[in-house]
Structures are given as structure tokens and as C-alpha cells.
Amino acid sequence: MALTMPEPDQAVLARRARIAATLSAIVPGEGVIASERAMRPYESDGLTAYRSLPMVVVLPSTTDQVARVLAYCYREGIKVVPRGAGTSLSGGALPLADGVLLGMAKFNRIREIDYDNRVVVAEPGVTNLAVTQAVEHAGYYYAPDPSSQIACTIGGNVAENSGGVHCLKYGMTTNNVLGCEIVLMSGEVVRIGGKHADAGGYDLLGVITGSEGLLGVVTEVTVRILRKPECARAVLIGFATSEDAGKCVGRIISAGIIPGGMEMMDRPAIHAAEQFVHAGYPLDVEALLIVELDGPRPEVDHLVLRVETIAKECRALSCKTSESEEQRLLFWAGRKAAFPAVGRISPDYYCMDGTIPRAKLPQVLTRIRELSRRYRLRVANVFHAGDGNLHPLILYDANEVGELERAEAFGADILRLCVEVGGVLTGEHGVGVEKRDLMPAMFDALDLAQQQRLKCAFDDKGLLNPGKVFPTLHRCAELGRMHVHAGKVAFPDLPRF
């Protein structure tokens, strides 16, 4: 594996037994795990190609314990890696050999449901789906719905700014969080926002969301809940080319329609999904679009007609609209099972996550097909078509020597391609360790230095989740140095007054 993590601190490792004992005093009972066997489940997250046993695992259950653990680690110069459910697909929760793994699973209670203000206050270890389950009997739901929603935690969602198929219309995590309590690496507890809009001052909530566990540890989250739409219908549209499908997506949006979800699959993904769940997908098409419209019944029926008309104008080969809730769920079942379905036709697959300007889709798919031939690896494409978020699944066999490395190189080429056409390296999975070394494809040294200075404001010793997101670690003192070019400035010649 080409990945280089920060060099383990031998002085810290030498004190391992004492550190574990101190942590046990802070989090008594079964709160500390130090045996190799018991730590094994924590050695990787959803990006299983990378593994590393932590120095010790600690499972606090109160904010005070988190604060004392962090304050101790800060004083002693010990690295900390926070972890929710460990579903990250980018290695965001990959442990460090000389670091404490801070598992937040015991923070699993919903603290308050406030229907009148349309918010839920939850501990970070509550799963994404559990938030919706807690309020659905009253007709509400929590909008961001990453595919891992059964397992992934709301705290992890904040760290990763998770999305899902509905974020085209309802936004990502960052648009649905109103407040949080976080513990800084120093052990200091800060509360930001609450049940009202706008926390005041700099939007720290906005930067903590999506900071991949590098700025602070979330110990409480306040999220917005929404009223469930009256009804939803899905339109399944098949096309002879991805160009036609892409054009249809653009035409729908140009017509002023923002669907609740708009997903595209290419031929390999359609076939894999259909074999797996028999959703009734057409097999003679190159691209399949699922357009879901939600809202009051008259609105949905009205928009369904418009979408069907647009589909015809875009030379759709087939067009089918769900007539019942069962049928709608069946249309989605194939899409939702696309990843495991691909897992059935290949020993392993590697899921990528770039975003591109939508109009570049045909060009990007053509280039991916060329790369697929060059790397001799098959690829299936699943695409959040509405917001341009592309998930190519690269099929490989980890037991074949060199295939994983080839898959990774192929994936890196796809992400560079995304940036080249005006897109970004990651739409919802995060940078983590996976895309860390690709960051210079998108950002120059000054961009990255400025981001790292933000980290210094939260974590001046660089102890929280180091080795993630940034390809090169700099000390805060070094980043803080100013280079003023006194005397070499041409500005006085410019027009003034």
C-alpha cells in the first residue's frame, strides 16, 4: 500500500500501559479496550483496504468523559481518532498505531424531540435512520439519507457532511443541522447554535460539518426534521445513450422541476441490479433514470406528466411511472441494492465518489470506458444525476496480485478527470486517507495552508485525527509565519482616491 501515515511516536507507545490505565480511571468499567483481539473490530472502517490496530480504544458515555480523555491526551501529546459507526468509505476513522481510538457508540440516546420547533436533539452515536424512526409516527423525517443510514451515526454524518439520494431537493447534512456541542482537543467544551437559525459570529457549525473529525468531537447534535411529503411517485426512464439521459436531466431542471431524487445507472449497473432484485428494469438500454417526485398529490401528478413529456422529447426508449407505493419501492430497490449487486458479480469492488458539472457526464463516461480498457478492469456507474455526484464502482479481485493497486490507480485517474472537467474529488464520502494525496489536484499549496491554519485554531498541536485530509502535515508555528513583501509592491502606482 502506498499510503504513508504519520510516523508512530515511540515515546507514546512505550507508555501504552500507563495511558490505558489513566483512561480506565476516566472511563471506568468496560470503557477501555486494550487487548489486541478485542480491538480487532476497530482496525478499519468502510474502506477495508486499509487497516491498523489502534494503541487503545476508549468508549466514553458522557461529554465530561470525552472532555477529560481529550484534555489528558492533549497534555500528554497523544493522538486521537474519533469514530462513529465506522462506515466511512474514505478511511476517515482509520486508527493510528500510536493513537487513542475514541468510539462514540455509547452516545446513543435521543435527548429531545420538539415537534413545534421541528428539531431533534440527539447524541452523536444515534444512527441516521433512528432519527427518522423516532419521529415518523408523527409524520416527520430527517432528510439526509446516506445509503449506510441503517448503521451510520448522526455524529459521523456531521463529521462527513453526509448526503444521500434526496439532497438535491433537501440539502446535505450541513443544511439540516442547527446546533451542536463539541469538545475541542484541549478538552474545552463549546456549544454552537441551538434550535434557532444562525448561531452568530463566524459560522463554526458550518466548518465543523464536513471537517472529518479533525476539528473537534461532536457530543450532541440538533437537526431539523421535515414533514413527510403527502405522496411520492417514481418515473423509470430508459435511454439508448447516456447523452440522451444526461440531456433529459438538464431539461427537467430547466423546466423548473427539482425532483426529490434523480438517479442514473449505466448498463453494467442496471444488469447487476436487475439480476439481484428483479426490479423490472429494462435490459436493452444504455442508461436508466429514476426520477422521484414528492409533495402533495396534485403536484406530483402534474409534474409526472411533465417529466414523461420531457422524457419522450429526449428519445426515451421506455418510460414507466409507479402506480403504487410497492411499485415505487421496487423501482428504488434496484438502485439501493446497486452496490451489493455489483458485489455479487465481482469478488471486490472499489467505490469512487467524484462530482462533475452534469453536462460533462457523456464526456466523463467515455473517458471512464477508455480507462477501463487501459486498466483491464470492469466498471459500473451509479450517478446522483441531479447534483452531478458520480459513483463509479471499479470491479477487481484482491486475490489477484496487483489488481487492488490497479483499481486504486484507475480510481485516482477518474477523480483527476472529475477535477479536470470542473468538478471535485469527493461529493459525499470525504477525503479521509483515500483521497488525501490527490488534494493537490484541486488545491494549491496556499489553499491547503489556509485550510490547515483553520485546523490550528481548533487543534494547535495537530493531535486530532492527523494523517487524514491533508497530504502534508505542517506545524502550526510554521503555518503562522508571515511573508510580507515590503517594498516590492507595485500598488502605489494604481489609481487611488
Partner: protein, 410 residues
């Protein structure tokens, strides 16, 4: 005497900041200076005028994205989007009426730096939620960028959020990219007449609990409603509670019927047509009842954000005697409060009431001397304040960008 630097390109902005750093001359940053009367007054005698950085760089309606020079007038952008049936969904307000009695929408950079929003904040968020990417010059005199041109992006820290509402204290934005969205085809407003404030907040809460997709929920007590002309037969000396519905015509009609039925238990319900509805919400967005031209220019105005269900309670706590006038928006979550003139513009009483009810208050309209003397923005507790100072230091260690514009210490 105030001097002005007028860079003609992003590179010249970098040169200007470098020059200011070398001379240790702090800068006041302006686009068209529409927000000069807002916030804490700038503590400098050197202005960085970015007005030359104007013009739309690209606008792709199908991709829902627009990129422009930071000083591009919002007015121009609105017109361009309207032509394609789109808009900025968060409904950025126009502070001009409130501050000077004249419409002045300012620039897109100013809109972002102040994190503007409007009544649709309820469902569409604020400027922060639609800010996709930027390039700018930090207080270190370095050009840097963040974000991109696509909506779904988690590559690196989301510095757009940090820039939104930072009042130019972290970077001088040079180029910005925002999300555009389709404009609703039609709208209507359901009105409930004659409710007292507490009942109105309960009615708005009930409206938000329906599946009618209410995209605006405001309450104008009788005195406030009387300050503007809202159309014949409406109000007539009574309070108005307004609920906006937007979308395609069949949907709006359906929801109007449902919402009207749901609101009947609260009081007399009326409807409005599309044009009247647009006028209402424009007036509410821009806080027209308290516009400076209406002989109220001397009276201080506060913008208070709170937990929606506590809106009426907060208003009572500020003003048990009834000397204040309050306009409620965001279903009770936003209060515009106009107070009688006083030495501290009512700061002591407002801060005390907000502390008891949750939320935060900003002094929007007051003479410069008052805005320099009292905290204009809600002072954070010490831990958060220290964190924000460290953030500022990371972007602008020598304090050359809009020093003291938010708090004296920032």
C-alpha cells in the same frame, strides 16, 4: 481623510492587501458600500474598494450555477436569473429601505459577507446554504480558494460557510460561485386576521406542522400592519398573520384549501392573489414597515433570531409596556424590533431578554456612535469568542481586514 484603493483585478487586490500589510494600514472593504451603516463601524481610514471586480463570469441555468466577480450588483444578477425563470432561493433581503429609505441591494460579495436571507429561510436556508465556491485574498496577502462550482462537494473544509457572515474580516472575496434554483411558478398567501402575537405564533407553528410546504410565515401586529399599505379591506386596523404557498398552480390551489381549513380554528381567514402575495413578501423581506423614510429613522431597530415558539414571549420580555413595535418572520424565529430612541438603543434590555429566551440579537439601525459603543452583534461566551479570535488570526494575523467590524476584538 479617508483614502481609497481601487484594484482592477484579483491580482491587484492581492497587491493592495500586501501593500496595506507592509504599511500596517488596516483596510475597510467595500463593494458598493451599501452596508456601511450596518454592523460595527469600520475602524480605519483606508478603504479597499472592490467595485471594479464586477461582471458575471458564467451562468449555466441547467447546471443551477452562477459565478461572478464579488462586486457584481445583486440587481443585475436578479435580472439575469429572472430571464431564465430562476432566482436565489434564499431571498436575500434589501437593507436599503431600513437603513436609508432607499432600495440598495448591494453586491453579491456583500450579500455573502453578511449572510443575507429572507422569509424563505424557513425552507431554503440562507446565503451560506447556496455558496458553492470562492477565491479571495486573506489578511496574509495570499490569494486562496475553496469549494467549487458543484453543489455536492466535501473536499476539504467548507470555507464558504466561514466566509458567509464573516463581514469581510477573514478575506477580501474576489470571485464567488452560488447555486441558483427555479423560481416558483405561482404563489398565494393565506391570511389570518386579528390574532394577538402569542396566538399568531401558535397559528404559524400549526401551519408549519401541516404538509402544505409553507414557504413564508410572518405576523404583523395591527400597528405594524398599519405602517404599510397592504391592499384594500385587508387589515383595517387589525393584525395580519401571513402564510405563503408557492409552486405549480394545481399544487398551490390544493394546499391553499388544506391550509385555509387548518387555520380556521384560529380566526378569520382570507386569501390573496399572486401579485398581492408577492407585494406582501417583498415588504416583509425588506422590513418595509420600519423603513427609514417613514419618519422612524431615529428609532433603533434590532434583528433577533430565536427559537420559533418563543418569539412572542421574547417580544414581551423586551417590551412589557408596549412601546416597541415587532414584526415576526420565520414562524416566530425572527423578530424585527423597533424601539424608542435611547442612549444604548435598548441594548441592555434586549440582551437580557435574549439570554433568557435563547437566540441572538443584532443591532441593525442606530447612529454610528451608538453602534461603536455597544455590541452590535451578540457577544459570544468567552470560550467561543477565543476560538473565533484564533480563527481570525489564522486568516488575518495582523488584523488588516475590516478590523472591529463584528466585535471590537475581532
Amino acid at each position: 481623510m479617508t483614502e481609497t484603493l481601487r484594484p482592477r483585478s484579483p491580482k491587484e487586490v492581492e497587491d493592495a492587501v500586501q501593500w496595506a500589510l507592509a504599511k500596517t494600514r488596516p483596510l475597510e472593504i467595500i463593494g458598493n458600500a451599501s452596508k456601511r451603516a450596518l454592523g460595527r463601524p469600520a475602524q480605519t481610514d483606508l478603504t479597499l474598494d472592490l467595485s471594479a471586480l464586477h461582471g458575471v463570469i458564467f451562468y449555466e441555468p441547467e447546471e443551477l450555477v452562477l459565478s461572478a466577480g464579488a462586486a457584481t450588483p445583486l440587481h443585475d444578477i436578479d435580472a439575469m436569473l429572472a430571464e431564465k425563470g430562476q432566482h436565489l432561493a434564499f431571498e436575500p433581503m434589501d437593507y436599503g429601505q431600513l437603513l436609508s429609505g432607499v432600495s440598495n441591494r448591494g453586491t453579491i460579495g456583500g450579500m455573502l459577507a453578511a449572510n443575507l436571507a429572507g422569509p424563505r429561510r424557513l425552507t431554503a436556508g440562507a446565503a451560506r446554504d447556496h455558496f458553492l465556491g470562492f477565491s479571495g485574498v486573506s489578511g496574509r496577502g495570499e490569494t486562496f480558494k475553496s469549494g467549487g462550482r458543484v453543489v455536492k462537494n466535501v473536499t476539504g473544509y467548507d470555507l464558504c460557510k466561514l466566509m458567509a457572515g464573516s463581514w469581510g474580516t477573514l478575506a477580501a472575496l474576489t470571485t464567488v460561485t452560488v447555486k441558483t434554483l427555479p423560481r416558483p411558478e405561482t404563489q398565494t398567501t393565506v391570511l389570518i386576521v386579528g390574532l394577538d402575537d402569542a396566538t399568531a405564533v401558535r397559528a404559524m407553528t400549526a401551519a408549519m406542522a401541516t404538509s402544505c410546504d409553507v414557504s413564508g410565515a410572518a405576523h404583523l401586529p395591527a400597528a405594524v400592519a398599519g405602517r404599510i399599505h397592504l391592499g384594500e379591506a385587508l387589515g383595517a386596523g387589525r393584525s395580519l398573520t401571513l402564510l405563503r404557498l408557492e409552486g405549480v398552480a394545481p399544487s398551490v390551489a390544493h394546499r391553499k384549501a388544506a391550509l385555509t381549513a387548518a387555520m380556521k380554528p384560529f380566526g378569520e381567514v382570507q386569501g390573496s392573489d399572486d401579485i398581492l402575495s408577492r407585494n406582501f413578501w417583498r415588504a416583509i423581506r425588506d422590513v418595509m414597515p420600519f423603513a427609514a423614510a417613514r419618519g422612524t429613522a431615529e428609532r433603533p431597530v434590532w434583528r433577533i433570531v430565536t427559537t420559533p415558539t418563543r418569539g412572542a414571549e421574547l417580544a414581551r420580555a423586551i417590551d412589557p409596556a408596549g412601546a416597541a413595535e415587532v414584526l415576526y418572520d420565520w414562524a416566530g424565529g425572527l423578530l424585527w424590533v423597533m424601539l424608542p430612541p435611547s442612549d444604548d438603543a435598548g441594548a441592555a434590555i434586549v440582551r437580557r431578554a435574549v439570554a433568557a429566551c435563547s437566540g441572538q440579537a443584532m443591532l441593525v439601525r442606530a447612529p454610528p456612535a451608538v453602534r461603536a459603543a455597544v455590541d452590535v452583534f451578540e457577544p459570544p461566551d468567552e470560550g467561543l469568542a477565543a476560538l473565533m479570535r484564533r480563527v481570525k488570526h489564522g486568516f488575518d494575523p495582523q488584523g488588516v481586514l475590516n478590523p472591529g467590524r463584528i466585535w471590537a476584538s475581532l
